[in-house]
């Protein structure tokens, strides 16, 4: 339960860890800060979820999240603290495997958590048009454009330089860029 009477429809392109993080970010500012359990609890839950979405999560964190959620709900004075851990607890209950995927395989199945994404150009599909290299703000894409006179070299992404902005993915008209 979250919010007041609204309904949010989500599909497989919504990362449940990211959704929980979004709500915690909102709630840690929304808490008045009087009760230790609510003020610190929401802040720490947000901190742990950030770690998980950035690929630094540990499996123990999931138990800690559940424990922290329980305490925040039980020990806080008002209904904000009482319901604040709901997004975390319910996503953990129904989408635990998505959390585990982030932690164990460092993958975001919904392709939302940027730090966990990997962009790759499929050489067999790439038409060597060079649009992606032009769009890349980090100059991470190298290759040679194919013209009528010259043969090209398929473009490739330098993972070290890539800032995972997704500009190349959006610019490619031939679906030659794969996100993992």
């Amino acid at each position: 339960m979250m919010g007041s009477g609204g309904m949010i429809v989500m599909d497989e392109s919504n990362c449940m860890v990211d959704v929980a993080k979004y709500f915690m970010n909102f709630l840690k500012d929304e808490s008045c800060g009087k009760c230790t359990s609510c003020r610190e609890g929401t802040k720490r839950m947000h901190e742990i979820l950030t770690e998980i979405t950035e690929g630094r999560g540990k499996l123990e964190d999931l138990d800690l999240l559940e424990e922290l959620g329980w305490v925040t709900a039980e020990a806080s004075l008002c209904a904000l603290g009482g319901t604040a851990p709901n997004p975390v607890l319910s996503t953990l209950r129904y989408f635990r495997e998505e959390y585990e995927e982030h932690i164990v395989n460092k993958r975001c199945p919904a392709k939302v958590c940027r730090s966990l994404l990997k962009y790759r150009i499929l050489p067999e599909v790439c038409t060597m048009c060079g649009r992606c290299a032009k769009a890349c703000p980090a100059n991470a894409i190298t290759g040679k454009r194919k013209t009528k006179k010259e043969e090209g070299i398929p473009f490739r992404i330098d993972e070290e330089k890539c800032i995972k902005c997704g500009m190349c993915f959006e610019s490619c008209k031939f679906n030659a860029i794969e996100v993992q």
């Binding site: 800060g33 230790t36 901190e47 039980e74 020990a75 004075l77």
Partner: protein
């Protein structure tokens, strides 16, 4: 008299008392940080959690602001209570890892490792300083500011506490001892609130005994004669 049980033991409290007060008097050990018998209970630290069972329903609640009621059953150390209390203590010590008081309390509760990133704050936001300043001193010099995880106790606009009379009540009441006060020559400074006041000299012993501003305020409030504070408390008696 209102009678109820704490951990199965029959206790009696007066109308208007809270559960923590009665429990402490009866010798029960309930950890607490933001409670002080001289000011109104506030319930910010959440450490004094107990399980209260009333009319067959039980829930966790802070004992410092739970009024005594006929026939309630209070449990101070059930599995649920200890679990919540330990986590709150861990959150507090992750916030202020440098506090010796918190370190001692955490050790007593059996907390050996802190699973959160340590911060370097010193204030636990119990609000005792602000409440004493408001309820007892009546100076209203400091208050809570901001909300959520940015909450802190500060003088108005984070500048000098211009209403502060440098009485030092906040220094004494602070459970983690982070409000500093120093006296150098004829000046007294409350460092945390950036307040420095000139002190008055006693006409008999010559000691600087209290800030001018403070004595003026008290004299006005109590309608005392002008020369009342010319001599210090020790010389007068």
């Amino acid at each position: 008299m209102i009678s109820f049980t704490i951990d199965g033991q029959m206790v009696e409290g007066k109308e208007g008392q809270n559960v923590l007060e009665v429990a402490l008097d009866a010798g029960f050990d309930i950890p607490h940080l933001c409670y002080n018998e001289n000011v109104k209970p506030y319930g910010a630290c959440r450490l004094c959690l107990v399980e209260v069972s009333r009319k067959g329903r039980s829930r966790l609640t802070t004992s410092c602001n739970y009024p005594v009621m006929e026939g309630i059953e209070v449990f101070t150390s059930t599995e649920k209570v200890l679990r919540a209390r330990r986590m709150i203590m861990e959150l507090l010590i992750a916030m202020c890892p440098g506090s010796p008081l918190l370190q001692g309390m955490a050790k007593e509760m059996g907390i050996s490792e802190i699973r959160f990133k340590k911060e370097d704050k010193d204030c636990i936001l119990c609000g005792l300083c602000a409440r004493v300043c408001e309820e007892i001193v009546g100076a209203h010099a400091i208050q809570f500011a901001f909300r959520g995880d940015r909450r802190e106790v500060v003088p108005p606009f984070q500048g000098e506490a211009t209403n502060c009379i440098a009485c030092g009540a906040c220094v004494i009441v602070c459970p983690v001892n982070v409000i500093g006060m120093k006296e150098e020559g004829d000046e007294r400074t409350i460092t945390r609130w950036k307040r420095t006041l000139k002190m008055k000299q006693c006409k008999i012993c010559g000691n600087y005994f209290a800030p001018w501003y403070q004595l003026e305020k008290i004299r006005e409030k109590a309608n005392l004669p002008k020369d009342f504070f010319d001599v210090c408390y020790t010389c007068r008696s």
